[in-house]
């Protein structure tokens, strides 16, 4: 066990490093001095009862909480690839290129499948010239990687909104890939899907590990066990315990963790 902990301390390998992050919605404090290290190329699950701040923590990494304006305040730091993203001089477009996000409900854009996949690519690489065949290659690679190519290849001009929820969610992952983000955040990405689709998505997420650093919120503990390498357990705005997934589930160190994984909170 000590070997794992030793590896944890190796800062150079961190994709995300959250330090003393506190966050307020108005007067309500949602996060309390949260620390969290996420290793490059790993899958880390965030678990905890609903309302404990998982989504809030996730949204701090790509700063989409800021949509709410000055109502949201944060202190502390969030480093992505060694750079503090809470700094003043951070260009949000570049941050969001590096940190993609997948939501609870699939949210493809009201465009064709093709335009969806190429959306971020065109956005972030507008100053380069790509021929149609280059774009086609990029699109095909992304769709293949999310195991969606065979399903949509015959009609890439179809409305993305018309696809099944499973396919939509895969598409939402696919559209992140062409710009090669370092980190992909996923907020309960399978909670709108049926069990079969959930399994397909979990399989896909597992396949992406290594190429991408994935931080995934789930309230499905079986999913955390199956589809993550590390797990952080949160409670009331704090990270209570963060370890290798198998270790956390087999031998939790904290009483609260044990209570939660045994289903004693909702």
């Amino acid at each position: 066990m000590w070997r794992v902990d030793l590896a944890d301390r190796s800062r150079a390998e961190l994709a995300i490093q959250v330090q003393k992050l506190s966050l307020w919605y108005g007067n309500f404090q949602a996060l309390f001095e949260v620390d969290l290290d996420v290793k490059r190329g790993s899958i880390t699950a965030l678990i905890g009862p609903s309302g404990c701040g998982k989504s809030t923590l996730l949204r701090s990494v790509n700063r989409i909480n800021e949509r709410l304006g000055s109502y949201v305040r944060a202190t502390g730091s969030v480093h992505v690839l060694g750079h503090n993203v809470l700094g003043e001089d951070v260009e949000l477009a570049r941050l969001r290129r590096q940190v993609g996000m997948v939501f609870q409900r699939p949210n493809p854009l009201p465009l064709s499948v093709r335009d969806n996949v190429l959306f971020g690519h065109r956005l972030h690489r507008a100053d380069e010239k790509f021929s149609k065949s280059q774009e086609d290659e990029i699109m095909e690679a992304a769709l293949r990687q999310v195991l969606l190519w065979d399903e949509v290849k015959d009609d890439l001009g179809q409305r993305a909104i018309g696809l099944s929820l499973e396919a939509q969610q895969k598409l939402c992952i696919a559209r992140l890939l062409p710009v090669k983000p370092a980190v992909i955040l996923m907020d309960e990405p399978t909670s709108a899907l049926d069990p079969q689709a959930t399994e397909a998505l979990e399989h896909l997420i597992w396949e992406l590990r290594g190429d991408y650093t994935i931080l995934i919120v789930t309230h499905n503990m079986a999913q955390a066990r199956r589809a993550s390498e590390e797990t952080a357990f949160m409670l009331l705005g704090r990270v209570v315990e963060h370890r290798r997934t198998d270790a956390l589930f087999l031998t939790p160190r904290k009483q609260e963790t044990a209570d939660y994984i045994e289903g004693r909170y909702g």
Partner: protein, 289 residues
């Protein structure tokens, strides 16, 4: 076991009563419109001819055609559209996509809605002061069209804003989260999905200005001009004004001419509406949600 009880029967009766009542109201709504159209076609139809549409009026407006009024109305509506549409759409985009949700924005929105209720004669007086006198355009198509534009600006803004807000917020957020700026989001997602609503809303609203008389009466419309307008600084005749004049001020005017002029005016409006509706149908077919 499943037979109707007295209570069920009474509910069915009440429900039938309301259905008939609401249906009658709809009928009351439709009848006058149908009557107006019917009378116009019956009494004005015989007046319509190539000569009526495409020749100059003669003999103190009692003979000949309405060409200068027809052309003039197209000028007035066209120039008014050119002025109000870009300004109105830009303002609506600002208010709906950029402006923070605070008391100032809410105040502006409220003011716009109230502005839409200002009587057209008040706009006419404003137009005289602002465009004819102060800006020095004189009585001209430009002054009259700008007056019409100011008058229609609120409805253009409201129609545009409603179409913009019909685009679900989730689409915008998805776009922002990919790293798109507000403008990129507007251009790629919001406008393509609202343009049909915007354009039809605008055309529907603006086509009504073709029938306005008060705002153009003092700012650029003339009772009679023996020539067609050559540019925006000319005065012009207009259908609405022409109808007003021949209905009130010309003794011995034939009924047929009056109804014929009204029929042309209303056909012009309906034609624009039909165009905008077919445009909407066409664009909706291309929508991706």
């Amino acid at each position: 076991m499943f037979e109707a009880t007295n209570l069920n029967r009474r509910n069915h009766q009440i429900q039938w009563l309301f259905k008939v009542l609401f249906g009658m109201m709809t009928l009351i709504l439709i009848v006058p419109v149908a009557l107006i159209l019917g009378v116009l076609v019956a009494k004005g139809g015989p007046a319509i001819s190539m000569e009526f549409l495409f020749s100059m009026p003669r003999n103190g407006l009692t003979e000949g055609g309405i060409l200068p009024a027809l052309i003039g109305t197209m000028w007035l509506v066209g120039v008014a559209l050119l002025a109000s549409v870009p300004v109105g759409i830009a303002a609506a985009i600002y208010l709906s996509e950029y402006a923070p949700d605070n008391w100032l924005t809410r105040g502006i929105n409220l003011a716009i809605i109230n502005l839409a209720g200002v009587p057209s004669i008040v706009h006419a007086l404003f137009g005289v002061g602002a465009f004819v006198v102060f800006a020095g355009f004189g009585a001209s198509i430009l002054a009259a069209s700008l007056t019409l534009a100011v008058m229609t600006l609120p409805v253009v803004i409201v129609a545009t804003r409603e179409s913009l807000q019909a685009v679900p917020m989730a689409f915008r957020e998805a776009c922002w989260n990919m790293g798109a700026t507000r403008w990129q989001t507007i251009r790629i997602v919001v406008l393509p999905n609202s343009v049909s609503g915007i354009l039809t809303g605008i055309i529907l609203e603006v086509s009504r200005t073709a029938g306005e008389t008060a705002p153009i009466m003092f700012t650029g419309a003339a009772m009679f001009l023996p020539f067609l307008p050559q540019g925006v600084l000319d005065q012009t005749m207009a259908l609405s004004m022409h109808l007003f004049v021949i209905s009130n001020s010309i003794p011995g005017m034939s009924e047929e001419f009056k109804y014929g002029t009204a029929l042309v005016l209303i056909s012009l409006v309906l034609l624009m509406n039909a165009l905008s509706i077919s445009f909407r149908v066409y664009l909706r077919g291309k929508k991706k949600w």
